[in-house]
Amino acid sequence: MTTREIAGKEIEFDEEGFMTNPEDWDKDVAVALAADINITLSERHWEIIEFSREDYQAQGEAPGLRRITKEAGVPTKDLYKLFPKGPAKKIAYVSGLGKPTGCI
């Protein structure tokens, strides 16, 4: 467990670098976390992040990519363009959620 200062807040992360407390997340935190992994958030990124946050509230875990493509209607190709090299983890990271555990 480590604590880092992100967007003026003390945020706690697990060993793999995911936020341990999704409630500490806000939009400024998301912008800073995205910058960490060299992503500048656009409207389309926000759509995915907001869906993931809502889905987490409903399901209790970070959504896998299949849920995002099916429920939020974002095509697979777009997910990989917006969050290149490992979209599943990157989306969860920027959304302040734990590592997604689903296989799909």
Binding site: F13, T76, K85, G86, P87
Partner: protein, 163 residues
């Protein structure tokens, strides 16, 4: 801090044409891509059915000779019953329902997702020759028909998994 996967590379060889054995390779390739690992699949022998346009939507699984396969109530299916007409179709539809419940897509859709995610699909040349198939007979996302040596070149530096 969160780190992305850098140079990892996965090559999967799919050699089976049954519905049940089509999934392990697809699940792994897709999971690798979701995680940022480069993935390609080489389809050989019966695995070629997974990317043969006319067959890929009709893969079946059979309980015959498979002691692991049980009914939803946990009862095994004895071989003498598994060989009865209709049992393969029965087992297949059962498996399709289970995959749907878990939200795993059928092979064509799954392979499309893998291709959209940047995964590469290759058909084995020897098998294609044996089954008299050309690229026109294959799923449109297949990169090409390649020989074993070329596949080994593609697999250079990769972790290789044989299914």
């Amino acid at each position: 801090m969160f780190e992305e996967q850098n140079d990892r590379k996965l090559c999967i060889i799919c050699s089976k044409g049954t519905l049940d054995m089509a999934y392990p390779g697809m699940v792994l390739a897709n999971a690798a891509l979701m995680e940022g690992i480069d993935a390609s699949i080489f389809f050989t022998f019966w695995g070629l059915d997974m990317i043969t346009d006319k067959k890929m939507d009709h893969l079946k699984c059979t309980p015959l000779g498979n002691p692991s396969m049980a009914m939803p109530n946990g009862m095994g299916i004895p071989n003498f019953m598994a060989m009865l007409p209709g049992m393969t179709d029965f087992a297949t539809s059962m498996m399709k329902k289970e995959m749907e419940k878990l939200d795993f897509p059928p092979p064509r859709e799954y392979l499309q997702t893998i291709a959209d995610a940047g995964g590469k699909l290759y058909a084995c040349k020897m098998t294609a020759d044996m089954m008299k198939l050309t690229e026109d007979d294959l799923f449109e996302e297949v990169e090409g028909i390649v020989g074993a040596m070329e596949f080994l070149e593609i697999a250079d530096g990769a972790q290789v998994i044989f299914v």
